[in-house]
Symmetry: C2
Subunit: 149 residues, 2 copies
């Protein structure tokens, strides 16, 4: 299949807050007061975890349907831990981002554990967001300074 391209456009509303447009959708990403924001929305790393949870839901159901596994009442808790010292310019001992991420999928199913283990391995291998978090992705940042020089 040809490449699918996804794009969001974010307008800064404060040093901590953006309004993000993704197609017809709008969401606000902010920080809580202790991280310098006005707490008008989930923070950036919570937003990434939301994307992971959304992706796992899609792939969990897709792979379950392929394998004839009935999956009911799926809930996903996604968590991660990070040390903000690098972000805050206090220390470079730890990486900037999450040092670990875990997601727990809770659901009702009559499928035996060995079937669910194979299902879960396929979910992880085929989930785009799991892939982008678990493995490196080429990331390019560009500047477009609008002030004529």
């Amino acid at each position: 299949m040809p490449e699918l391209t996804f794009e969001v456009r974010a307008a800064s509303e404060s040093p901590a807050r953006v309004r993000v447009a993704a197609r017809q959708f709008s969401l606000v990403v902010d920080e809580p007061p202790e991280l310098g924001g006005s707490d008008a929305g989930p923070n950036p790393v919570e937003t990434v975890l939301a994307g992971l949870a959304g992706c796992l839901n899609v792939v969990a159901h897709l792979v379950a349907a392929e394998r004839g596994i009935a999956l009911r009442n799926l809930e996903i808790v996604a968590r991660g831990g990070l040390n903000p010292d690098r972000l805050l310019n206090r220390s470079t001992a730890d990486r900037a981002g999450f040092q670990w991420i875990e997601a727990t999928l809770s659901f009702d199913s009559d499928a035996p554990p060995e079937v669910l283990r194979g299902w879960l391995a396929d979910v992880e291998a085929r989930c785009p967001v799991s892939d982008n978090l678990g493995r490196p992705t080429p990331l390019t940042l560009r500047i477009r300074s609008l002030t004529p020089r």
Copy 2:
């Protein structure tokens, strides 16, 4: 600083749609119809790009303030391209997730280009979401099957 932990809880509302709670915030992540959803919210990979844009906004302003750079009217466009064949079980030739991600930061500033280049390098190095996308992160998926066996 002690580790900060972030958590979201997602309830599946359909095979493509989740309602995600992040502290007091709620957001819906879905897929467009061509990807099997009902288009009730941004899709998972758009949600990840929203988190990247939100993170870049925070770190861009933080580093600018440290360096005495005036940054006005920041807008961030974040894009990525992926091949859905692995997700859809059609081919494993390409990875599941974004094969590339790029973000363009547009803004007004009087700072000279060489100052902005140093600023941008520091933004990328200190942005948690850039770090988690650009470098591998240990990711653990767990199952909690609720049906007694």
